[in-house]
Subunit: 262 residues, 2 copies
C-alpha cells in the first residue's frame, strides 16, 4: 500500500486502510438509500460491507462524529460525508490510454461514470483504432496525450496498453501533468515522487487464489523434489513451467526493465 510513504501534510491523517474501505461503505450506503432506508447501525452497515463493526465505527470516526448514539447513522448524511472525504463531490476527468480489449471494456463500463469519473479522452496508437467510436467517444491518437491531459485539466490517467508500452505512456502522462495513475499493465511503473500509482493485476489475483486453492488440496504431502541437489547456475530456462503449454511467458513479462542494473 505505501507506494508513497504518505508524506501526508493533510488534515488529521486518515489511515490508508480506512481510505481503501470508504468506497465499500459508500457502495453499501447507496444500496441502502435505494431501498429508502434512512438510518443504519454500525452493525448493519458493517454486515453489508463485509467488515467488523468496530472497524467500521473506527473508520467513520476518522471523518468526524457523525452518527447518533442509540440510533445509528443517517444514510443520506453519511453518503455525503464519505463522498466529500473521498473527493467525489467534484467530477474527475479521466484519460484512458489503450483502446484494446480492456480499454474498450472500461469505456463501456457504466460504473465508471456513476461515481463522477468522466472519460475526457480515449487514446490509442493503432491507426486502425484511432477514429473509431467506442461508447460515444471517438478514439484519439496517442500523440495527443499531452493535449488531452492539459486541455481538460486531467489528473487521473488509466493505462490499458500492453506491458511494453506502459512505462513510456506513464512517463508521458506524468509529464503532461497527471498525478494519479491506474495501471492495468503487468509492470512495475517508475514514477517521480508525488505521483500516485495503483495497479490492478488479474494475473496476480489468480495466482493468490491458486496458492490458497493448493493449500486446501495439499492436506498432507511433502514429497521433496530432487531439486535440492542441482543448485548449479545455468543460463537457460525452459525445463520449468511444466504447465504443459509452450506459450509460457509472452506479452506479459518482457518489461520491468529499468532499475535492475542500477
Amino acid at each position: 500500500m505505501p507506494r508513497r510513504p504518505a508524506s501526508a501534510t493533510g488534515s488529521p491523517g486518515i489511515p490508508e486502510a480506512t481510505i481503501a474501505r470508504l468506497p465499500v461503505y459508500l457502495r453499501a450506503l447507496y444500496a441502502l438509500a435505494d431501498r429508502s432506508i434512512a438510518t443504519v447501525s454500525s452493525d448493519e452497515l458493517a454486515a453489508a460491507a463485509g467488515v467488523n463493526s468496530a472497524k467500521l465505527r473506527k473508520d467513520l470516526s476518522h471523518l468526524g462524529s457523525y452518527g447518533t448514539r442509540g440510533v445509528g447513522y443517517d444514510v443520506e448524511y453519511l453518503v455525503y460525508q464519505v463522498s466529500r472525504e473521498l473527493g467525489l463531490t467534484q467530477d474527475w476527468p479521466v484519460v484512458i490510454v489503450g483502446a484494446g480489449n480492456l480499454g474498450r471494456a472500461l469505456a463501456n463500463y457504466g460504473g465508471f461514470a456513476s461515481r463522477g469519473f468522466r472519460i475526457a479522452a480515449l487514446l490509442d496508437c493503432d491507426p486502425a483504432v484511432v477514429g473509431t467510436e467506442i461508447a460515444q467517444h471517438t478514439v484519439r491518437s496517442a500523440a495527443e496525450i499531452e493535449d488531452a491531459v492539459s486541455s481538460h485539466g486531467v489528473s487521473i490517467g488509466v493505462i490499458a496498453t500492453p506491458a511494453a508500452s506502459a512505462q513510456h505512456v506513464c512517463d508521458r502522462l506524468v509529464a503532461a501533468g497527471v498525478t494519479s495513475i491506474l495501471n492495468f499493465a503487468p509492470v512495475v511503473l517508475n514514477v517521480p515522487s508525488g505521483v500516485d500509482v495503483r495497479k490492478v493485476d488479474l494475473s496476480i489475483e489468480l495466482q493468490i487464489l491458486a496458492f490458497h486453492a493448493q493449500r486446501r488440496t495439499v492436506v498432507a504431502s511433502s514429497s521433496e523434489q530432487s531439486w535440492q541437489a542441482r543448485r548449479a547456475r545455468r543460463k537457460t530456462i525452459g525445463e520449468f513451467a511444466d504447465s504443459g503449454g509452450a506459450d509460457g511467458l509472452d506479452a506479459d513479462t518482457g518489461v520491468e526493465a529499468q532499475a535492475v542494473g542500477t
Copy 2:
C-alpha cells in the same frame, strides 16, 4: 485481506502480505530469465519488483534458504521455487461467468493462460451470446455451470456478471464445488467458510486515487459546509451526488442485500 482468518494448518504459515507479493517477484524473475540473467541479488530483484530489499529477503526466506550469500539468487531456481509455492506447477482450469464487455476482455487476455490458468468454460445467460465464439471458446449457457465445474474439476471461478446476478452465480459456483472466486462485480459476496473470494473493483481504485488527488489539490481550504445543522432524518435521496449527472447510482449498486437486517 484476512477474509478467512488464516486457519493455517499448512506448513510454516506464510504471511498473506508475502503471498500477495510473490507473483510480482515471479514476474520480475521471468523478465530476468528472458534476458538470460542467471543470478540476481536481493537489491536488484527488489528494485525490479518495486519493493524494499529487506522485505524481499524476508519474503523469500519464508520459502526456504534458497540464495547464496555473497552472490544472490539463482533466477531459474527461484522461479521454480516461487512457482511451486504458489501452486503454479500445475494447471488451473477456470470458469468465467458473464461474457459481456469484461468477460470478453478476460477471455481474450493472453496473460491469463501464460501462468497456467486455462479457461475451462465461458458461460452466459443471454441467449444472444450463448453459442457465439470468443477467443476459441464457445460460450455455453449459464444453466451448465454445475456441469462445467464438476466435469473439469474446476476450483477457480471468475464472476463477470452484473452486480445483481453476482451473488446468485456465486452460490451456484460454490454449490458446484468452486472454492476460489475472483469477483469483478461491485458487490460483497457472501460465501461459506472455506471459500476464498478476491475482488477487483475498478471503481474503488479510482475513488482511492481521487482521494489522494484531492489531497494534493486542497493544500489549504476548509470551508465548512452549512451541513452541520441539517441533521434531520429524511427518506429521500437526490440532492447529493452533485456530479452533475443524473445517472447516479445505476447498475452498480442495488444489491449488497443479504445481511442488512440480520
